[in-house]
């Protein structure tokens, strides 16, 4: 293996062990914190315990000094009081330290052991049970070493007491007198003491110590488990926080103003959890601005991951396809692959020329955006929505033409806004959103915030249950379009005049040559179609009006005549004829003959135009074609 590869492997593994070292250092710190918390609590209990016992001594001593109790000697009574004062002193000291000092547990446990031991010496017939006090107190520290030391010391002190009592019975008259006074005779018979006190009591002590050790271990394990869970929770939180940063960082700014001042975009996104599946996006592409909004079918981390993929896929494909329709069709295919979790995403994407405000949009299962005109009226940009992305193959969404005038505000939003609920489970609704938009006096920079505030007021105390996203775009300046108007008799001879007018207009907006040719084909088909039929059947030829409009990226023609209602698009469906030509084997050319006159023409009108519409109004036929390049 090459040295460079080897050293890269080494650095990778050391980087990994560095990070896991950091983790285990972090985990150890949490564990130590929990252990020291426990120690503080145990210190508190132990100090109180010591205080309690010593106070008992103190009370006895005081009682003796006042003649209410007999402890044998005045000196002993004073000793008792001193001991209790020590106990009080230790307690107050520990309290001032907030029970936190490192050596405190040793001090307190030793104190308890001594007092217990003295008590046991004086009242040995009360058995070893007295030593259960230091045993229990030390167990609460969950420290096996400490417990072991205390257990051993306790037993040693017990044994010493037993031995002392036997020895001093023989050697000290004070002690012998005391034993006689207490009517305890067992100390005269060491063998008896050994067999019937020492051995059974030691056995009991061992059993109890074992139980204590078990409790101590259990306590320690619980603390360890607590530390582990805490560490995991912290790690998870950190990951989510990082994911949130990544996701927010991948979205463009919440406000943008074009440096030329032509347009402004503002956006708002509030996910339900830390990260969510809604997204918005906008970017400049040559003379066009592309803007979009989408909603992934889920919430939380999985939706966020799919959202990132969707957004990036769509942007890349839009930048690398020859049309919006092609880009979104390809995006659907990409999102279908590698999508085992079956998630899907809605999308509304628009692309507008920044000079003319004219362009196209695609709607894949998303709510129609709202358009607010400068005069305050609001309309929805409706169309037959195409299917969401990521569900089925062969989704070929349709691109529709739309335009924004100067002073218009377009609002894209996700259903988190219209579905927002209040305490009585009422939804905000699209009508209310329309109303809010109409009433809002906010400029584009604050429009989204303003609307969300309204919705929050409506929602009151109930919690948000779906991601809320909105994007607003407006144009401040639109280049005026070039127009021309012709009124000609509806006969073939007028076609040339119409075509000339059309080409003059296209030249005035510097339409590129290829686009100009295709507009010419389209216009030729429309003229041939309409002129041929407009006044068919009427005694005299009528006139027709042709309104032309063109801009840097579009051409639009409207044909108006007073003939009988005639829809140029109403005819045989020539699409299938053209396909039949392309796919049939024999006599393919005959099928062209079968197409009714004008059939192929209709097909070209539909294929070459980006939008064609017919309506009959006030006894007038209106037929409009639009082409964008």
């Amino acid at each position: 293996m090459a040295d460079r590869e080897k050293s890269k492997l080494n650095s990778d593994s050391s980087a990994q062990s560095n990070s896991s070292q950091k983790d285990s250092v972090q985990n150890r710190k949490v564990l130590l914190d929990l252990i020291s918390d426990n120690e503080v609590r145990s210190n508190c209990i132990a100090s109180k315990c010591l205080l309690g016992i010593t106070l008992l001594f103190g009370i006895l001593g005081l009682a003796a000094l006042f003649g209410l109790y007999d402890v044998g000697d005045r000196v002993i009574a004073i000793d008792f009081v001193i001991v209790s004062l020590l106990g009080v002193f230790i307690y107050i000291h520990a309290r001032l330290l907030q029970f936190k000092h490192r050596g405190l547990k040793y001090l307190v446990l030793i104190g308890i052991l001594l007092v217990t031991s003295v008590t046991h010496f004086l009242f040995p017939q009360n058995a070893i049970a007295i030593f259960y006090l230091p045993l229990l107190v030390s167990t609460s520290y969950y420290d096996r070493k400490l417990s072991a030391i205390v257990y051993i010391l306790s037993w040693l002190l017990y044994t010493a007491n037993m031995a002392l009592n036997v020895i001093l019975e023989q050697t000290s008259s004070v002690v012998a007198q005391y034993h006689a006074y207490m009517e305890v005779t067992m100390w005269k018979q060491p063998k008896f003491v050994l067999l019937y006190y020492f051995i059974p009591q030691t056995a009991m002590f061992l059993i109890t110590a074992a139980i204590g050790a078990g409790l101590s271990l259990r306590g320690k394990n619980l603390i360890q488990a607590q530390a582990d869970m805490y560490a995991k929770a912290v790690a998870a939180e950190t990951e989510i926080a990082t994911a949130k940063k990544i996701q927010r960082g991948s979205l463009p700014a919440t406000y943008y103003k074009d440096p030329d001042g032509r347009y402004e975009v503002s956006a708002f996104l509030r996910p339900v959890k830390e990260i969510g599946g809604d997204f918005y996006g906008y970017f400049r592409m040559g003379d066009d601005v592309v803007f979009m909004i989408g909603d992934v079918s889920d919430k939380g981390l999985p939706a966020a991951m799919f959202m990132m993929q969707s957004k990036n896929t769509i942007k890349t494909l839009v930048q690398n396809s020859s049309s919006l329709q092609e880009a979104i069709t390809r995006a659907n295919t990409v999102l279908l692959d590698d999508n085992k979790s079956g998630m899907f995403v809605t999308l509304w994407i628009g692309i507008l020329n920044v000079k003319t405000g004219v362009g196209q949009y695609v709607n894949c299962g998303h709510l129609p955006p709202l358009l607010k005109h400068a005069d305050g009226t609001v309309e929805a940009i409706e169309c037959e929505p195409d299917l969401f992305l990521g569900i089925l193959e062969d989704v070929a969404p349709e691109a529709h033409v739309f335009r924004l005038d100067a002073g218009d505000q377009l609002l894209l939003f996700t259903d988190g806004l219209t579905d927002a609920e209040n305490e009585t489970k009422e939804q905000f609704g699209s009508a209310a959103l329309r109303g809010a938009l109409a009433e809002s006096k906010a400029n584009t920079a604050h429009l989204c915030e303003n609307l969300i505030e309204r919705i929050d007021v409506f929602a009151g105390k109930s919690t948000q249950f779906d991601d809320m996203t909105a994007l607003a775009i407006s144009f401040n300046e639109i280049e005026p379009s070039h127009r021309a108007s012709l009124e000609v008799p509806a006969v073939s001879a007028s076609i040339e005049q119409i075509m000339n007018g059309c080409n003059d207009l296209l030249q005035s907006v510097a339409c590129p040559q290829n686009a100009r040719r295709l507009v010419d084909v389209m216009m030729d088909e429309v003229c041939a179609n309409i002129v041929g039929y407009a006044y068919k059947g009427t005694p005299e030829d009528g006139t027709m009006r042709v309104e032309l409009e063109a801009g840097a990226n579009f051409f639009k023609a409207e044909f108006i005549d007073h003939g009988v209602a005639f829809d140029p698009l109403d005819g045989e469906r020539p699409v299938t004829d053209a396909v039949a030509i392309a796919t049939s084997e024999d006599d393919q050319l005959d099928s062209l003959d079968d197409i009714s006159e004008g059939g192929l023409g209709i097909y070209f009108i539909r294929s070459l135009s980006d939008d064609c519409k017919y309506r009959y109004e006030n006894h007038e036929n209106h037929f409009t074609v639009t082409k964008i390049w």
Binding site: M499, D520, V521, A528, I581, A582
Partner: protein, 99 residues
Amino acid sequence: MTINGIMEEGILVATIEGRIDSVTSDTLETYIDVNVTDEIQGLTLDFADVDFISSKGLRVLVATKKKLGNRELLITHANSAVMEVFRLSGLLRIFKVEA
């Protein structure tokens, strides 16, 4: 629209100038009727100066192809708009069209 034809090794090479639209297609039709006889071995249409062709023009070409039968009909120097029209109509599979 003007059409100029020369014979090259038995093949009629016709250079068309202008657009082949709903109005001018008739001119092309007439030219074909007159000049495409049983004697010529093939027809080449030079579209170098053809601005565009629309559906009426395509019909004329279809009729021409039928008239030629097995003899070849070749279209040369087609611009991208002409190509697009052939493509949309599905006729690229039937006509030999060169850019």
